[in-house]
Subunit: 412 residues, 2 copies
């Protein structure tokens, strides 16, 4: 979808373990920072789209999550829409907010994502993740995984570790094994993804993990499910991120310095219905490139959904950064590392910045806005003009349940 | 917000207790009926907004609820946004869908609401409702209720029945007592609301309760919290409702018979911030009237949020159907009964049709569309040309957390 909305301000909390902070306080901190960044007050906001994926199961707060966060800041009476699309919840919120601003309904709106996944009762965190597959058909969810393994001709490690990981890591393990078998990627390549993103994350003060890891350290870490070691899996986390969006008219009126424009945002959902060869992720990327009138080669820097290390390599391919099967070659070339041609996940990505699921989509926009405005400090991508965010969520059959691809540009 | 979208088809399940039916099967039945009503296939849909409020807490399915329902029907790959605004979830979904169609982004979209509140473990149902206030601050939620009682100079019945009812009935009881004290309404008036809506519901094959009750029967029923007897409280329920919306261009292309247009939809959220004297409900109504260019006196029939019997009388007032304090006089006049000047809740309302919360907003549109198209059978409002739906949800402080008012007209 072609968009015409401008980022007036961004904010986010550090990602991590925030057991003693309420969900609304996390959201409030991100919103306050975004408003400050925009030079605005809460009373300037005309509407808000609030993303969250798991507060019902984790905290018991399934309803009116956004209103509570806004009230805590004294922001009343504006239309609020609570949006859920699993790990793509806040990119979906952003997509809706952008569309409404681009259509001329509002001049100043908020998109926000917040999440608390840590809980003293760990079963709540696990229950939340299971809620991203079909709870009413758990056998069906497992069958899909076994079918995927069978079709790929690879084995699924079912050694009983399942109670210590989310079902998603089984999906990613199968995806990784299939890629290794078909295209020759190796466990070392997956470790290289984590090592690269840990290098990036070491320069991000808001990252959940800030230690830089070597490839060997990643390989030597505890095995979660073959071939994924612990640092190849994104962690659970708590945090929030917020984006203040304004219309073109308002952007002019404000005289924004270094304005960042959202040029396109594509939301693809559902499941692979066999209508074409694309995954939901590939479909969203293709639509976003078309709407923005650019190609993958034009993008300066990218935040993509590295929920697992192999996910990043596979995403290189379906986002069109390289040919199918060439993901590991692109990684080996250094192109996606800071200093390379198209740095990927300069924030540290989900693997190192962290993945409080409902907050991740907006956090990607925070990182890319700062990159496009030249304020990313030691991890700045030199001369960044065009950026892309890719955020996926949920699992239906073999495909993501929702994916949002957003393309942003530095204007002026 | 001024809208320009047409209702191409509507569908809903009977409301009631559907313990043996999955959430996605309920949604699927409503969507299938709406598509059939529109003469369309699932493949005609270009996007979907799916409302649900409580599946995370009740069923453990907090994420991708909409995608699962659509997949069960073989509807893949369209953008899906899961929307939550407590009891106003599916009217919020409809609001978003209307705005996107009116802006020209899509020609054919779906708005759907579904809910399962009954569970063999009744604590799950209670937990769901508690999630509509601030779970992180339960003492604050109770303090608001006690403050309301104090400010109104009425007593709150805290006889220990609290474990058998949702916190909302305490709020409604205080509201009722305050209205009685200030404006002279009586318990008999509240019973008259239920009796009227039971008369309407007795003619609605999809209503949860179809027995007609006399005023005396309502008064004699079990007391929940003074002055509310059981039939003065909306029940919990399971069900789904769906609306297929099309653009003006598409409506012309389809040559819709008896087209129903959505002329305005106002979403007001948050809380009473003291900026004006309006409640969130009054604000939404005022905005909807302005956008549609009509006044309350122009409306032929109304579905409003009678979550409790006194709620209907109070809503008469803030929706502008009568002057403040005159709600009981309007009721006594018979104007809001079938055959009267402005029949209210011809479906039976939340009190009798039922209130599967996330489904209620779309179900109101189903009723009003059928009324405007002259296909409501024995409960048909003669000559209905203009209709209004009012759907509220959640509680923050003394106000609804979200309210949507929608105005529809029969065209041609």
């Amino acid at each position: 979808m072609k968009m015409n909305a401008y980022v007036a301000g961004v904010g986010m909390t550090p990602f991590g373990r925030h057991l003693d902070t309420t969900l609304k306080a996390l959201a409030g901190a991100a919103i306050t920072e975004a408003l400050h960044d925009a030079g605005m007050q809460g009373s300037d906001l005309q509407a808000a789209w609030m993303g969250n994926a798991a507060a019902g199961v984790v905290l018991g707060q399934e309803m009116i999550r956004g209103q509570l966060a806004l009230r805590a800041l004294g922001i009343g009476r504006i239309p609020v829409v609570n949006v859920e699309n699993a790990c793509a919840s806040s990119s979906t919120a952003l997509h809706q907010a952008c569309a409404m601003v681009s259509a001329g309904y509002y001049d100043v709106v908020l998109a926000c994502g917040s999440e608390k996944l840590f809980h003293v009762d760990k079963m709540r965190s696990f229950a939340a993740f299971f809620g991203a597959v079909d709870v009413e058909d758990p056998a069906g969810a497992m069958k899909v995984i076994h079918d995927m393994a069978r079709d790929a001709g690879v084995s699924l490690d079912t050694d009983g570790a399942g109670d210590k990981r989310s079902i998603f890591m089984d999906v990613y393990a199968i995806m990784a094994k299939a890629h290794m078998k078909k295209y020759g990627s190796t466990k070392e390549h997956f470790a290289m993804v984590t090592a690269k993103n840990s290098f990036h994350g070491s320069m991000n003060p808001r990252a959940q993990f800030r230690d830089e890891m070597t490839v060997q350290q990643v390989l030597d870490a505890r095995m979660i499910v073959e071939p994924l070691t612990l640092p190849m899996c994104s962690p659970i986390g708590d945090g929030a991120a917020a984006v203040v969006l304004v219309s073109e008219r308002k952007a002019r009126e404000l005289g924004l310095r270094n304005p960042v424009k959202i040029r396109a945002s594509a939301l693809a959902s559902g499941f692979d219905d066999g209508a074409d060869g694309d995954s939901v992720g590939a479909l969203a990327a293709r639509q976003a490139y078309e709407s923005a009138g650019v190609g993958p080669e034009d993008i300066s820097c990218i935040e993509l959904h590295d929920a697992s290390a192999p996910s990043e390599i596979v995403a290189y391919e379906y986002l069109g950064l390289c040919k199918p099967g060439d993901g590991w070659r692109l990684l080996e070339s250094g192109a996606t590392r800071l200093g390379g041609r198209q740095p990927v996940n300069t924030s540290g990505g989900l693997l190192r910045k962290g993945h409080p699921v409902g907050a991740t989509g907006c956090a990607q926009i925070v990182e890319l806005t700062e990159q496009l405005q030249g304020r990313s400090g030691p991890r700045q991508v030199a001369g960044a003009r065009l950026a892309m965010a890719h955020n996926g969520g949920g699992a239906i059959g073999r495909d993501a349940a929702a994916t949002v691809v957003t393309i942003l540009s530095r204007e002026g």
